[in-house]
């Protein structure tokens, strides 16, 4: 028994050492796709979420005629399975980044999938801010811009940070599927060795690497959110 366990451990250590450079490259590719997607998806999703809050019921400038269709588009995009979206967007990616396959094409699809998710999350976070506090700001003569940037956003920062951590992890997990359209990263590595060559030992190492990255992200952002939150 002891022998088997030691052998198991040693075998995987050897595989890890043998594949470390390709593992490292793939990890970097995954991180690159995740980071690029997070940045661009937030650049779209954050303002979109803020806009939704303003247009929503009880918002700063409620407008159902704009809110309803926008909300519909967001819900629809969110309900398309990512694998299908990934393939369906190949012509669109070709238009945007010049190629329908590869890392950058995957990033396009990831951004399209993540931005509506972020918009919804931002909307929820901002709507959680106590209406009484917004009323107080209005009673002092704060304009809409001040209510957004001095009340709604700062008051919901802990919640936004927690959402950021969930989003990042989700994007990383989705990026693993991008191997299907020829993007790199840990996902493609897993598909290549795990599925094509039945190398479950490499698969296990890839899983461990991913778990480590996810744990670090989760730990850091939760720590940050807790540190920043003045309600506790």
């Amino acid at each position: 028994m002891e022998y088997i366990e030691t052998g198991f451990f040693r075998h995987h250590l050897e595989v890890f050492l043998e594949f470390r450079s390709v593992l490292w490259e793939s990890t970097l590719e995954t991180l690159y796709m995740t980071f690029a997607t997070v940045t661009m998806a937030y650049a779209i999703g954050l303002p979109l979420g803020m806009f939704l809050v303003c247009l929503g019921k009880g918002g700063l400038f409620p407008n159902r005629a704009v809110h309803a269709p926008l909300s519909f588009v967001i819900n629809t995009t969110r309900s398309i399975p990512f694998l299908i979206l990934l393939v369906a967007l190949i012509p669109f990616s070709r238009l945007i980044v010049g190629s329908g396959i590869g890392n950058n094409a995957a990033i396009v699809a990831l951004v399209v999938a993540a931005a509506p998710f972020i918009a919804r999350m931002v909307e929820t976070a901002l709507n959680e801010v106590d209406v009484g506090v917004v009323d107080a700001a209005k009673s002092m003569g704060a304009n809409n811009f001040q209510i957004m940037f001095k009340v709604l956003l700062p008051e919901s920062i802990p919640s936004l940070i927690r959402g950021f951590s969930i989003t990042t992890i989700n994007i990383m997990s989705f990026s693993a599927m991008a191997g299907v359209i020829g993007a790199g990263g840990l996902g493609r590595l897993a598909i290549r060795y795990g599925i094509n060559f039945w190398r479950y030992d490499i698969m296990l190492i890839i899983i461990i690497v991913i778990v480590i990255i996810v744990t670090i992200i989760q730990f850091l952002f939760n720590l940050l959110a807790t540190k920043i939150d003045r309600r506790i």
């Binding site: 106590d130 009484g132 506090v133 009323d135 107080a136 700001a137 209005k138 009673s139 002092m140 003569g141 704060a142 304009n143 001040q146 001095k150 009340v151 700062p154 008051e155 920062i157 802990p158 920043i228 939150d229 003045r230 309600r231 506790i232």
Partner: protein, 242 residues
Amino acid sequence: MIELRNVSKIYTTGERALEDVTLTVEEGDIFGIVGKSGAGKSTMLKLMGLLEMPTTGEVVIFGENAGAYRGAKANAIKKNIGTVFQGFNLLMQRSVAGNIAFPLEITGKRRHEIKTRCEELAELVGLSDKLRAYPASLSGGQKQRVAIARALATNPKILLCDEPTSALDSFTAKEILRLIKDINAKLGMTTVIITHDIHVVKAVCNRMAVVDEAHIVEIGKTAEILANPQSAKTKELLNFDI
């Protein structure tokens, strides 16, 4: 100073919160509005604070028909009105100093000006040692003191208080009422206090109105009304003791 002229308020839900209400609050006075839950008291205060627009009638503030103002014009008037809420409504992610500074930041005051003013106000409400604390760590009475300091920050000419003591124990409630009374005496701002407790009105208000089911049923000097109540609703409020 504040006048409601034949004001009615019907919310978009169809709820008739106020019907044909007329009242005047004199400059420097402490005016009490008392009534049961759902009578329309908060609605009255929201109209005075320009948070809601009247459906019909006029809300006249500083001699202007301010009830009809929107946007920047309304905001300019609001900067001369301070409001204290039942639920304190403090910014939870800002310190005490940050909360008091908020209305000053909104009006674009300079940093050092804000700092001096915060210290002044903290002293006035007795919270000089709590400027760096966060609301979550304060007691109810302390939170309400912060809210009062914040409402006074821009030197408003009007102070509106919606149930300022309802979330507090009776001892702390008395302290807060005394503070409001002292501030009125010291700074001379026109003060309106909304309450469901007629004893609060008795303790601090010169003039009062009794509201019931969207109407004013009695209005006048507090001493006179309490000594010789005319309306059955007033008597009901006076006799209510557990």
